[in-house]
């Protein structure tokens, strides 16, 4: 029976081949979807790390913050084709990550129509069980962040901030932006959720790719935890420093 089905594929011109035999149909399978979520998620972890490292230049010693941050921001916009390739990739990864996560989530709900009357916590921790919640809240943070600092829709006056070298004054925009307590707190809470999401997501990537065994599992889990906390502390340091007056405009 089994062999019959497999050996008959050639004679019938591949008509009997099951769907996942075609590489592009992988996205219909459980593991294929997990791979897509893992790859897109990993790309975003890389983006978040690079984004943080770039922004940490605001703390450049000897009042170098404005110069380095503004020069870096301008440098990112130097070559439009590269910028747009990066933007399109980010959008594709973002849509892919969200779309396939929602597909998986719906299948997972459907797989247990009747819930336990008395559920128990077994080994799952808070970050693990709230992946979909933290993800959905981030879905509102990302457009907010873009409207705030990238498109400047929420604060059109940021478009007029120009430094002495006639560059957009990103440094001043960040300081003015984070001078507001509610906005800073929203950013810090969102970073907490993002980093919680990454602390499970990053080690999950290795499981999905199959790069995990009993020996390296604790290293991956702890490493992912440290990465999550590191990203949270690094990202929160920027609004916090503005609020506490450690970073000011003009730089002093």
């Amino acid at each position: 029976m089994f062999f019959g089905r497999w050996t008959s594929t050639r004679a019938s011109g591949g008509g009997l081949r099951p769907p996942e035999m075609k590489l592009f149909a992988l996205a219909n399978t459980s593991i294929g979807k997990k791979w897509i979520v893992a790859i897109t998620g990993l790309a975003f972890v890389g983006f978040v790390i690079a984004h943080l490292l770039g922004n940490l230049q605001i703390f450049w010693p000897n009042h170098g913050g404005p110069e380095h941050l503004n020069a870096y921001a301008e440098h990112l916009h130097d070559w439009a084709p590269l910028l747009w390739i990066a933007r399109v990739l980010l959008i594709v990864f973002f849509v892919g990550h969200v779309y396939f996560t929602i597909l998986l989530y719906r299948e997972n709900r459907a797989a247990r129509p009747q819930k336990y009357a008395r559920p128990a916590k077994i080994s799952a921790s808070v970050p693990v069980m709230t992946m979909i919640v933290s993800g959905l809240i981030l879905l509102t943070f990302v457009p907010f962040h873009l409207a705030h600092f990238t498109w400047k829709i929420l604060r059109p006056e940021y478009r007029d901030f120009v430094d002495e070298a006639k560059r957009p004054d990103v440094y001043r925009m960040v300081v003015v932006g984070f001078s507001s307590w509610p906005i800073s707190i929203f950013y810090i809470v969102s970073m907490g959720l993002l980093c919680m999401h990454i602390s499970h997501g990053f080690s999950s990537v290795f499981q999905t790719f199959g790069i995990r065994n009993k020996l390296i599992a604790p290293v991956l889990d702890k490493g992912s935890y440290v990465l999550g906390w590191g990203l949270f502390l690094g990202n929160s340091l920027i609004p916090l420093s503005v609020l506490l007056g450690w970073v000011t405009w003009p730089a002093k």
Binding site: P18, T29, S30, I31, R112, Y116, I122, S204, K214
Partner: protein, 259 residues
């Protein structure tokens, strides 16, 4: 010992179910959970009521027949690596309220009360959980060298008794620990190599078709597994599946272009 039980009663897969209160009185501390249910069922039968239906067979933790989600945990105790039949009442507090529910998953329809139909697992095995060997005289045991490490790891996977606790514990009712263990025990050995790719693809396809959820790397499965099977086998399956898909996709194109 005395216990207050809240037990799931359901006529069949299509009827609604609900928790029913039962008192378990004068239970010996050395009774297993199933023996406690036997005692309760004696009383239920004496009163002329329908006894509580639950699965059991070997009662020594090797057959995988008994199930039960006890206080939200499949097999009741996620630390010890035991099945419900090996769970003793002395591990509970006297007078404790104990919730007893079936293994819950869409792919495990309820037959009656606490009994679920786990034949979805059989169909995953039928899809590829075997090796094809030449029948006839047995080959010499040492004719096929197998590294000790592979043999040990394959044995770890082979310890799976197919009880379904992994599915019941998973927030997504995913069967990936079961499927990966049944796949891993064969794919680690030389005898399993010839059919490795097609086995991986076919078993995952069947697993998906049965309506199990997807793994979200929570690892509840290995925490409740009575045979303590590691979630590393899921990682191995994820890896094998992608490799098999790529190999199969490429070789299929090769065959077509050659025609």
């Amino acid at each position: 010992m005395n216990f207050h039980l809240k037990i799931w009663r359901q006529r069949d897969a299509n009827s609604p179910g609900q928790l029913e209160d039962h008192e378990a009185k004068d239970i010996p501390a050395s009774a297993s959970f199933l023996e406690m249910l036997d005692i309760v069922n004696e009383g239920v039968t004496m009163r002329g009521e329908e006894p509580i239906a639950h699965d059991s067979d070997c009662r020594e933790g090797i057959c995988g027949t008994c199930s039960l989600t006890i206080n939200g945990v499949p097999h009741g105790n996620n630390k010890a690596g035991i099945a419900t039949c090996q769970l003793h009442m002395r591990t509970f507090q006297d007078g404790e309220t104990i919730y007893v529910e079936p293994f819950r998953a869409k792919a495990f329809p309820i037959v009656r009360d606490l009994i679920v139909d786990r034949s979805a697992f059989d169909r995953i095995i039928q899809a590829g959980g075997y090796v094809s060997v030449r029948t006839g005289s047995a080959p010499d045991a040492n004719a096929l060298p197998i590294p000790k490490q592979s043999a040990d790891l394959a044995m770890d996977a082979a310890a799976c008794i197919g009880c379904g606790a992994c599915v019941a514990a998973c927030p997504n009712s995913s069967a990936m620990l079961f499927t990966s263990a049944k796949m891993g025990q064969l794919s680690l050995l030389p005898q399993g190599q010839a059919e490795r790719g097609r086995r991986t693809l076919a078993m995952v396809r069947q697993m998906d078709a049965e309506g199990f959820g997807n793994c979200s790397n929570v690892y509840n499965c290995s925490a409740v597994c009575p045979k303590e099977i590691s979630a590393s086998f899921i990682a191995r399956m994820n890896r094998d599946y992608m490799l098999a898909s790529v190999q199969d996709g490429l070789s299929a194109n090769e065959v077509r272009s050659g025609e």
